[in-house]
């Protein structure tokens, strides 16, 4: 646990006050998801899981979805993203964008399954038209965010993997 995890509190506050007002096609970018995916790629999968745990709890606290929805969704997403980090040797800076095209639909689908299983009436129709705009926005958000978090990661020390610049 590091003081840098305070970033998660800032992220959830920005999400509920600023980013929730940035709506394109009925959806807004998910800052918390972008941070967790970036951190899982930059650091070890273990750190990604730890951040996902606290990030998920914060999202659940402020969301109207049932408690546990985003906690489980972020944990699963961080785990899968951590596997990519382990598997790739020399990742390029475009990798986070590509990974987001996998991570964002995975995150939303797991969250929807969680909501359904916790008694929420989830609409499964028009899934592509609903998830695609969110995925594109999340991928756009990770472009400027990733270099910033790489600096934070450098400051935090003990990098798990060396990234080409």
């Amino acid at each position: 646990m590091t003081p840098w995890m305070g970033l998660l509190v800032v992220a959830v506050l920005l999400q509920s006050t600023v980013l929730s007002r940035v709506t394109v096609g009925g959806v807004h970018p998910n800052l918390m998801l972008a941070i967790i995916v970036s951190w899982s790629l930059l650091r070890s999968g273990r750190e990604g899981l730890l951040w996902a745990f606290f990030g998920g709890l914060l999202l659940d606290l402020l969301s109207s979805a049932p408690l546990g929805t985003f906690l489980v969704a972020l944990l699963v997403t961080a785990f899968v993203t951590g596997l990519i980090e382990v598997a790739l040797f020399r990742p390029s800076l475009w990798l986070p964008v590509g990974v987001m095209f996998l991570a964002s639909p995975l995150f939303h689908l797991v969250a929807m399954v969680m909501m359904e299983s916790l008694g929420w009436d989830v609409t499964w129709t028009n899934l592509t038209s609903r998830l695609l705009p969110a995925t594109i926005l999340d991928a756009l958000l990770i472009l400027p965010l990733f270099p910033l978090l790489r600096r934070v990661s450098d400051m935090a020390g003990e990098k798990a993997i060396e990234w080409s610049r």
């Binding site: 049932p66 382990v86 929420w120 989830v122």
Partner: protein
């Protein structure tokens, strides 16, 4: 491989803890931790929310835009309030006619027991603190909760119309599900022709479904809550008909409804704490 396995074990441990939290929450044992968390986060969130609105306002106030914006806002508010008065007067007139019919109907059918519902009290205004943090739910959080008598199921409104209903409440906070959420279903009636239907949320707006084919619904007709099922009081403005889709092979019509509220700009709302059913004797002269 060993690393993946160790990550998998960590994942399983965290999922187990998540499951524990879910079970505790289902048994309503997470209220205190949630209250504590909300109390920690809400002041910063409220400050940031106010700052965001102020900065947003500053950007649009450059030069002459500010004066025009104020003037436009004043005119819009005047128009909205007049529209609201018009809606209320028309509704009262229609209701008066209906009650007269009802009294006549009751006299002709003495074995029927009829009740008329009416809103009799409104709660205190609550400030909107934060918007929903995910794309899967449409909701807002407000700074009034159990201490003000705000309970799940209560209707939330502004002067311009229906906002939604309280989903969950704690000490000093409540989560409000907006009527535009996918799961929102409201029995509704078109003010002008009294056509009934169900207004459903579509995330980006509202659609009124199951309007009988023979009913007449036109653009700019006002859609109100029907008050059936007891979820919402009757007569609350939901929106205005934007377009109507009819087909000869479909027994139902569908209407796209434009909400009277800009949900992204919500600042203050009212929570209807109670609405009491007025017996027919009280209505009768």
């Amino acid at each position: 491989m060993i690393r993946v396995r160790s990550h998998f074990i960590i994942l399983l441990a965290m999922l187990f803890f998540a499951l524990l939290l879910i079970v505790l929450d289902q048994g309503a044992r997470m209220e205190r931790p949630q209250d504590f968390g909300q109390r920690l986060v809400m002041p910063a969130e409220f400050g940031l929310s106010t700052l965001t609105r102020t900065i947003g306002g500053l950007f649009t106030s450059i030069g002459d835009i500010g004066r025009l914006r104020d003037e436009n806002e004043a005119l819009r508010q005047q128009l909205d309030s007049l529209a609201l008065v018009h809606v209320q007067l028309t509704e009262l007139q229609t209701e008066n006619e209906r009650l007269r019919d009802l009294l006549g109907f009751q006299e002709g059918h003495p074995n029927y027991t009829l009740e008329v519902a009416e809103i009799i009290s409104q709660g205190s205004p609550a400030a909107v603190v934060g918007q929903e943090v995910s794309n899967l739910v449409q909701s807002v959080r407000i700074n009034q909760g159990k201490e003000s008598g705000v309970e799940p199921g209560m209707s939330v409104i502004t002067a311009y119309g229906l906002v939604g209903r309280v989903l969950e409440s704690g000490q000093g906070w409540a989560k409000v599900l907006l009527i535009t959420d996918d799961t929102s279903r409201i029995t509704a009636v078109v003010q002008q022709g009294r056509a009934g239907g169900v207004v459903e949320g579509t995330r980006q707006g509202l659609v009124m479904r199951y309007i009988p084919h023979e009913e007449r619904v036109e653009p700019n007709d006002v859609v109100l809550t029907a008050g059936l099922g007891g979820q919402f009081p009757k007569g609350l403005v939901i929106g205005v008909v934007e377009s109507v889709e009819r087909s000869d092979i479909n027994p139902w019509q569908e209407a796209v409804i434009r909400p009277t509220i800009d949900f992204s700009q919500l600042e203050y709302v009212f929570v209807i704490r109670s609405f009491t059913q007025v017996s027919e004797e009280e209505v009768a002269p």
